[in-house]
């Protein structure tokens, strides 16, 4: 939630609220949680978070343009299955391309149904969640597809440059790309306007259908990269790869300050939200909390963060002059 630019604003005032929350959490954990502040642990947090980050960038695009995407988990699963199937016959590069393309295909279908048929993104992506999952499971024959040990399959997820894992580098670069997309392209700007008021966007001459369709396709591109990294990590075709992914991306966006009503947000918000979630998950693991606590805690934090972000706008609403 970036605040409106104030007269003579300083950089500090322009930072989202969530960054202070993140700073607080990190400091508290660093001081009181044994094992947190070690380089290996932090690197691991970033590595795990990178995948969530890429998927969250995609969710952010869709949210800002006024939509929502529940099908992310199923499409990365589809990616792993199609890659695993393709790799039986074809070289690694081609197989990965097939996997990426399958995620784009899902995004395109979502985009077509939402933009051109004007169906509710809620129902469309929920339906696709089931459709794609079922399809992936049938294609995989019900069991995870084994992948022959191929050279380089793990490079994408396991390798690194100067000690920084590839996924983290990719996520960082993608964040910059996302920022440029949002702030510096007419397409990106149109998403904010469409999310803010669809009829007004139409009246100003913005091409609604094309731009909303592109939102889902470009979102799929980011999710596609996440899918490739995941596939590289597990090196198998797994229909149940990451079923909670869509919920985690929504949580990350919400915590980071991207409202689900659309029209507002930034790349920085998504990044911060992801890091908060990754850090909290890490804390749960370090504290040896059982898995169900992880779920419950995630839920509580997500809701708490959204409530906390709502508070300043309650006072702002009161200030707004009525008619």
């Amino acid at each position: 939630m970036t605040m409106g630019r104030l007269a003579g604003s300083k950089l500090l005032q322009r930072l989202p609220v969530s960054i202070w929350v993140l700073a607080l959490i990190v400091v508290v954990f660093a001081l009181f949680l044994p094992g947190f502040a070690r380089i290996e642990n932090l690197t691991n947090v970033l590595r795990v978070g990178a995948i969530l980050a890429l998927a969250s960038y995609g969710q952010a695009i869709v949210l800002i343009s006024g939509g929502i995407d529940f099908s992310i988990g199923s499409s990365v699963a589809l990616c792993s299955v199609t890659t695993a199937l393709a790799i039986q016959q074809w070289p690694l590069g081609l197989a990965l391309t097939v996997g990426f393309a399958s995620i784009i295909a899902v995004g395109a279908i979502n985009g077509l149904l939402v933009a051109y048929l004007k169906l509710s993104p809620f129902l469309v992506t929920l339906g696709m969640l089931l459709l794609v999952h079922g399809f992936a499971a049938i294609a995989a024959g019900g069991l995870p597809v084994e992948v022959p040990d191929r050279e380089g399959i793990h490079t994408l997820s396991g390798g690194g440059l100067l000690g920084v894992p590839y996924p983290v580098l990719i996520a960082a670069l993608a964040a910059v790309a996302l920022h440029v997309l949002f702030e510096r392209t007419t397409l990106g700007r149109s998403w904010f306007l469409i999310g803010s008021s669809r009829p007004a966007a139409e009246a100003t001459g913005i091409r609604l259908r094309r731009n909303i369709f592109l939102a889902y396709v470009l979102a799929a591109a980011f999710v596609g990269v996440a899918g490739l990294i995941l596939t590289s990590r597990v090196a198998a075709g797994e229909p149940n790869l990451y079923p909670t992914l869509p919920f985690e991306t929504m949580a990350a966006c919400a915590v980071g300050g991207i409202p689900l009503t659309g029209g507002r947000g930034s790349a920085l918000n998504a990044v911060i939200g992801v890091i908060v979630i990754a850090v909290l998950n890490n804390a749960i693991v370090l504290l040896n909390f059982p898995a169900y606590a992880q779920l419950a805690l995630l839920g509580a934090i997500m809701v708490g963060a959204v409530i906390a972000q709502g508070v300043p706008s309650w006072t702002r609403l009161a200030r707004i002059r009525s008619l």
Binding site: L63, G66, G67, I68, L113, L117, K118, L119, S120, P121, F122, L123, V124, L126, G127, M128, L129, L130, L131, V132, H133, G134, F135, A137, I138, G142, G195, R198, P199, E202, A203, F247, M250, A251, A254, P259, L260, T261, G262, P290, A291, Y292, A293, Q294, L295, A296, L297, L298, G299, A300, M302, V303, V306, I307, G310, W314
Partner: protein, 337 residues
């Protein structure tokens, strides 16, 4: 996420006659889609599979569709006021676990714990959405996670809790009993729907639900306590989740923490196929009743055919897409979007 998309540039004046027709005849048609679809599905599957069209199979379907129907009508209440509840599946799982454990401690009377759990989560959802202004997606997603976590916590080692003792026998008898060939569970379901219909159409509270769903701002301006109505609607949805837990306990005798995954999506489909609109203001419990019957008939039919459960999942996905199409078409016809 703008599901309502107010669009005043479509300033089309329309001839009064055609509009009256739209609201008269067609107005009721959207609620009858469930009946038609059920008959069509029954006909198709009966033609394809000889054992499908039997009285026993029909009774079986009737005894099975209750949980989805009740869950869907709860969802309908919330969709009516422009919301939705993604936590129903997790909440009813939690309710089965807790009720099972309470029954093991105190006997059949522990069954009442199920609706209580449901109402508690309903109140939480309602408060989050109204007083704290959290979007329904986030609020109910949060409760979903809380409930799921809670269910795993409440069940020892995350395993099912078996209802024992006298309670078990009573539940089993109820499940198997039937009145004039119609399973008792179906009768319960019907009675539940009649109560909902009464509340919705005969009471002022029901009217207030329609008002809040039709135009929440106007509702506030004429003096409706919108927050209270919202909380009540979500509480009723939670209550329905609790009732669903009772029906499931009757069927399985188990409190299973992993139950109900995907049911929130199905209940939403049930509500939409039953004539509700995601943008709120329209609801009919009988439409939902038959929509749930249709979904169950289709699922039974697919089971009969022996195809892979994943194919059934794909069919379910398609019917949700169709529900989306239906929602859009009805919004176009009734000019609410």
């Amino acid at each position: 996420m703008d599901t309502a998309g107010a669009h005043s540039v479509s300033v089309r004046g329309s001839s009064p006659i055609s509009l009256r027709l739209r609201f008269g005849l067609l107005g009721q048609m959207r609620y009858t889609i469930g009946i038609v679809a059920t008959l069509v599905a029954a006909a198709v599957f009966s033609a394809a599979f000889p054992h499908f069209g039997t009285f026993e199979n029909a009774a079986n379907i009737l005894s099975l569709f209750g949980p989805l129907a009740v869950l869907s009508v709860g969802q309908m209440m919330v969709v009516l006021i422009r919301g939705f509840d993604l936590s129903v599946g997790a909440v009813f799982a939690l309710a089965t676990v807790i009720a099972a454990e309470v029954m093991n401690a105190t006997g059949l009377v522990g069954l009442v714990a199920a609706p209580l759990v449901g109402i508690a989560f309903g109140l939480l959802n309602g408060a989050l959405v109204s007083y704290f202004r959290v979007q329904p997606v986030i609020a109910t997603l949060g409760s979903l996670l809380l409930a799921r976590g809670g269910a795993l916590l409440a069940a020892p080692n995350g395993q099912a809790v078996i209802v024992g003792g006298d309670a078990q026998a009573v539940l089993l008898n109820l499940q198997l009993a039937s009145i004039a060939g119609v399973p008792v569970t179906a009768v319960f379901t019907l009675v539940g729907f009649l109560v909902v219909a009464f509340v919705l159409y005969a009471t002022r509270f029901g009217r207030r639900l329609f008002m809040v769903g039709g135009d929440p701002r106007s509702a506030a301006l004429v003096g409706v306590r919108v927050h209270a109505v919202t909380v009540a609607a979500y509480a009723m949805c939670g209550f329905c989740a609790g009732l669903t837990a009772i029906l499931i306990l009757m069927r399985t005798g188990l409190g299973l923490p992993t139950e109900g995954v995907g049911m929130e999506v199905q209940s939403l489909a049930g509500a939409v196929i039953g004539g509700s609109q995601l943008s709120g203001g329209y609801a009919n419990p009988f439409g939902v009743f038959f929509a749930a019957l249709f979904i169950q008939t289709t699922q039974s039919g697919l089971n009969f055919s022996g195809i892979s459960p994943y194919a059934a999942e794909m069919v379910m996905g398609c019917s949700i897409l169709l529900a989306g199409l239906l929602d859009r078409v009805s919004q176009r016809i009734f000019r609410t979007a």
